[in-house]
């Protein structure tokens, strides 16, 4: 009995130290979310202005640009999956990956092959474990993405998109799967098509609010020419969309981690309570047994004495 009591106490202790760790992680995630949200807000003006500019060009010129052109019969699609670098964030990575698989299923039904582009170690591990080929992987920034990374990813994706059909590494469509940050409580995995671009308006999930519907866009003069401006604008627009996705994913990851760690802390609390009860019970049982042993011993002695007299 005494042994198991010690065991319970050891278990309580280890659960307590685990609770301290999960609690610390919860607090860290909570403080980082605020930072992540601030970063997302700081990036908003750029995205907003860019969206305005793109819709201005789209309104006043006939947009025919390689990045907006639909391939007649698309054969290959690139899918960029934004996952986290570290675990302990509940179902965060697995739900993005599930969404990605759903999208892949749909694309395959449409007769397209899929090139995977991954960010985040969790996604990398997922594909490696299933030994599925991945075209490119970027890791090491999932909780605070920088614009440079977004630019690099955008560059790589645009490059493959612009290749002619049949060329090595050519893709005809680019999709992004990331987790949208709706609120601290809800984050939803989302899949959007990035390329070919639909310039008409910022679709749902776009980085900037679209310029108010009532606001009439002025008649812009383009220098040197609408085509040249568009040429410069669109790649940046794509990059800013990717940056937006990365920032949203970062905020979602932190929120998911905070939630996961909070429930881990709560669970640890429960466990401690349960073990304390069992330990107390064991202690009481031990005492009761000792008492009954002593009483039994005394009785036996008394009987023996009575018999000899």
């Amino acid at each position: 009995m005494a042994v198991s009591l010690r065991e319970y106490r050891a278990r309580i202790k280890s659960t307590e130290s685990m609770k301290k760790i999960t609690r610390a992680m919860e607090l860290i995630a909570a403080s980082r979310i605020i930072k992540a949200q601030q970063r997302a807000q700081a990036a908003a003006p750029y995205a907003r202005e860019l969206t305005r500019a793109v819709s201005a060009v789209a309104t006043f010129s006939n947009v025919d640009h390689p990045l907006t052109r639909e391939e007649e019969n698309p054969k290959r699609a690139a899918v960029l999956v934004v996952t986290s670098d570290r675990g302990l964030a509940g179902a965060y990575s697995s739900s993005v990956l599930k969404e990605a698989e759903r999208l892949a299923e749909r694309l395959r039904e449409e007769g397209k092959e899929i090139d995977w582009y991954i960010t985040g170690r969790k996604g990398e591990a997922y594909f490696k474990f299933r030994s599925r080929p991945v075209v490119r992987v970027w890791t090491g920034f999932s909780d605070q993405p920088s614009y440079d990374v977004a630019a690099e990813i955008g560059h790589a994706l645009i490059e493959s998109f612009l290749k002619e059909q049949g060329e090595d590494g050519d893709v005809d469509e680019v999709h992004v799967v990331y987790t949208r940050f709706r609120s601290m409580l809800t984050q939803e995995p989302t899949a959007v098509r990035l390329l070919p671009l639909e310039v008409v308006e910022a679709e749902d999930g776009g980085p900037g609010e679209k310029p108010g519907a009532s606001e009439v866009l002025p008649l812009y003069e383009f220098e040197p020419s609408p085509e040249a401006v568009l040429d410069g604008l669109l790649p940046q627009y794509v990059q800013s969309r990717i940056f937006f996705a990365l920032l949203q994913a970062a905020a979602s990851e932190l929120a998911a981690r905070q939630k996961a760690m909070k429930s881990a802390t709560d669970n640890a609390d429960e466990l401690i309570k349960k073990y304390t009860r069992i330990a107390n019970q064991a202690r009481q049982a031990g005492i009761t047994q000792e008492i009954s042993e002593i009483v039994g011993g005394v009785n036996a002695l008394a009987d023996a004495n009575a018999g000899s007299e």
Binding site: P218, Y220, P224, G232
Partner: protein, 131 residues
Amino acid sequence: MADNLQVELVAADRTVWSGEATMVIARTVEGDVGVLRGHAPMLSLLTEAVVEIAEVDGDVVVAAVDGGFLSVANDRVSILSERSVLASEINVDEARAELEAARSGELDVPDETERRIRLAEARIRAVEKAS
């Protein structure tokens, strides 16, 4: 507000400067352009160069941009550039080192090398102009 330009200088991840100004000078791919109040709506490509914003009280804000756009409409000027920095934020020694590195031709991509040289030069010039 009607008397002045509303200027926003934004980088990809933050707003670098915003406020009222009387004039903005920037370098587009076709040459320098100065924007005053009442300028016709315009959208143009910038090159790696210095942007000057004349504030209402006469001070001049100098910044270096790495390409991007200038958009003017209804006395609102927005300068979008992925990595724009104010002159006060530039580390001259770093910029000089970058210039050296770019000139030494360690990159074998000529376009990129040239771009880096222009950017580093723009940054150095921005600091010189501001001081």
